[in-house]
Symmetry: D2
Subunit: 276 residues, 4 copies
């Protein structure tokens, strides 16, 4: 009701502030019988965690996840899986300077108006630190989708500021700090980012996520279409300003004859982009 | 649960097939005490209804709405408002030719796989006729938002196929069959559409919706952000392939210093685009 | 959200006032492929409808149900099933005398305080007429449970005022105006009710519902136990003041050794009582 | 969806097994600005915790609660409040004897059938230990209701096995191990329980909860009546077999003239009983 729960069958209820004691979530609805250990989740958290390159936030967090419930003898039981990540680097003092300033493009002012109270420590609940919980819960969901249905979900950066990044290979994405599927463009992106950072500025990016092997019929008509659920989940991420599926906005200028896919027996593939 | 309910506080549960006896909905959560008559809803249904120009579907429907409950002595009572629109032009015979064909870009195949049954009469539940119910329920919501909060919500067509439509005036939108806010471009659009239709083809479009006077703090963090709810509602409309808010995908190439709005005391304005 | 929706997978959204144009509901989540006709629902509505004996309300209603959607060629399609029952006997004038009186034990005062508006026509939304919709939707659910799972659900009156009614046979329940499973007690109950009515008074009753063949594992731990859902559904019926399951309040005085059932391989049986 | 979330506006999502690392919950929807410390919750947990007298379970737990989020500078912020209680006395070995036995009246068999997996450690998720979380979340709710609305909620034991306990004074309830509002009956209850325990048996009990000062109009018609929500919450507690409100089952034998309350301007009082 208050917006901290996502999903219906696989349902994530999230909590935690940027500089409070901990962040975490309860995953309700994960099917029983799946092998699950903290290491399955840690891998994705490690990819996301701050401080891994000079191009991302320099906050120091190990982001170690603990499974508090829902797993017995190494397997999920069908009961709620609670995940806990302790905050280690609160550094609230860093934020005292902004205790009475509102930052544009952030929800400082909105929270203050809505709740009459302000947690100025790094944005509190509105901090992008909340996305660590999405990553953790998503790791469980992705494991289930892969093992039970053979669905593969992968993402990569396809645009950084004005620079488009053509796809070369999925094998490149973990070998560079930008998660681009293109190793040759990395030096150019590094130079671009270094210059931007030195000028005290930042830029937007476009991420493309591709799900392969999605069975026909997922999602619920008419308001719970899979497209609609994905759009909501992505647009709810801090700073995301647009979401596209398939041909996206490019379809506007397409003719119907051009836009229509012929249906083929190959397994389906969904692609989603979002900008921030 | 099965996807036919939209919203939390103002909650719409929709029903009906393209060629069944009727379509309609139950609006639960409309506050009490608002003056409401069928004519308040009919105005918006009339703007949407088929057959009003040669550029839209030629199906013949009066789309007359009846209020079945929730209004007493001309005012809402706080109880559910049921809306009923009888289908008058079933013409199922027209569809017999496609009873055993699946159309690309439609959900024929998906429904058949999901439910094991197929209502081939114009797409049944998956028909865009369902959007008449969104319009009807939306007319109630919009009336409440305007009268109680002073929020104004308006939309216009901003791109038709490859043709961009610059905004001139809100006063133009009801004086042309395309709902463009620009009277001078109408002949060009008509010529474009006539040619396209004669060639047996169709094209996409972009619609921009602007809400003015939205109070600070609406929506719920973190998964129920207003952006996220709007993205879901729009992406759930048949054929919509992309949703943007604010600068949208253009923000990718913007620098942070360029993208940030300075906060001002003027009333807020949200703009949303979607493509289909 | 506003309380007019019941259920999760099989989800009923209800509407309508005692003296408005119609009552009805949308059933979302009924599985596809089940044979369904209005007559399947009408049978249960006829058992409930007013005016069938001198012991019940004398309002005249045929309570004819129309299926507006969700059924194609005689079978459910998996899309929402809308049910419509027109009100035929509004007789609002009968209620003008109470337009400025609040009745004890009714929700007149509560609605007026809650909504600031009062629909005095027979209680409006708070009228027990709403239960016709529960009966109609319940008829669909019961058909599914019987055909798909072999679950049988039956109820009978087990107490009328101070008079306990021992069970004799399910075959008796439709052959008397009280739905008792005991034909010999009927004259005594008729005499009791005639006397009570002449004195201008009324009394309470206890109804027992028995579900046979319920599979193990239905309901969701821990807040969505089947017991809890049934208790909510029953306590939500107008005038119900108590709900018991199994041994109910009698279990308080039982010892644990007496209360425990030994588990047997026979199919399960649930019994539920409620008082009003 | 999977039954571990309770409530709509004030929404509790619970997790944890009897012998897992921890139990706890996320409270979403607690209004901002209320003073809240762990000690506010600990008081109620201490009243509930095991091992406080010879009449209750002898498990050793301090049941110390930690607030992980949602409170900043001693006040709630409107963001989710996560509560964590570490399990200290797993003693799983005690349960190895029942690893392949199903206990009557417990949900062992049900979980095993439903999930295909069994956490035999003291019942796992189905353990009554889960009620510690209800108590913790309830302490927050009760504080808000008292401070914001002046609602007082209190409960006492009104029947133990065959022994009825007349109400004498609320001041007695915390001075005896049975939470009876009657100090003179305590020796009789102790003797009864000691004898029962020595015989290796147990018995049922009836608890009565009284809420005073409840404003008119809470709850939502028609399926979300306050009665219905309370019935569900109470019937969802392990071993509860019946719920009554007001006159309860006694109302069956009452005449309408006797049952009706005249409405008075005094503040409302709700009483609820449940048996287990």
């Amino acid at each position: 009701m208050s917006g901290n729960t996502l999903g219906t069958l696989f349902c994530v209820t999230s909590f935690g502030e940027s500089h409070g004691p901990a962040i975490g979530c309860v995953v309700d609805g994960c099917p029983p019988g799946m092998a699950l250990a903290a290491s399955d989740i840690q891998r994705d958290l490690d990819r996301r965690k701050p401080g891994t390159s000079r191009h991302v936030t320099q906050r120091r967090e190990s982001d170690s996840v603990e499974i508090l419930s829902g797993v017995f003898e190494g397997r999920t039981t069908g009961t709620p899986i609670a995940l806990l990540i302790r905050n280690e680097d609160p550094r609230s003092k860093d934020y005292s300077a902004i205790a009475d300033t509102f930052r544009p493009g952030h929800a400082d002012y909105t929270y203050w108006q809505k709740y009459g109270i302000r947690d100025y420590r790094g944005g509190g609940r509105q901090s992008a630190r909340e996305t660590a919980v999405r990553v953790a819960a998503g790791a469980i969901a992705r494991k289930w989708l892969r093992e039970r249905y053979g669905v593969t979900i992968r993402g990569h950066l396809t645009q950084l500021g004005p620079k488009l990044v053509p796809f070369k290979s999925w094998e490149h994405i973990d070998a560079n700090p930008f998660f681009v599927a293109n190793d040759t463009i990395v030096p150019e992106l590094e130079a671009f980012m270094d210059k931007l950072r030195k000028s005290g500025d930042s830029c937007g990016a476009r991420v493309t996520v591709i799900a392969e092997g999605v069975p026909v019929g997922w999602g619920e008509p008419v308001y719970g279409k899979l497209d609609a659920d994905l759009a909501s989940a992505m647009m709810g991420i801090n700073a995301v300003k647009g979401v596209e599926i398939g041909a996206g906005f490019a379809s506007v200028a397409q003719n119907g004859t051009e836009h229509s896919d012929e249906m083929t027996p190959q397994s389906s593939m969904m692609n989603f982009s979002m900008s921030s």
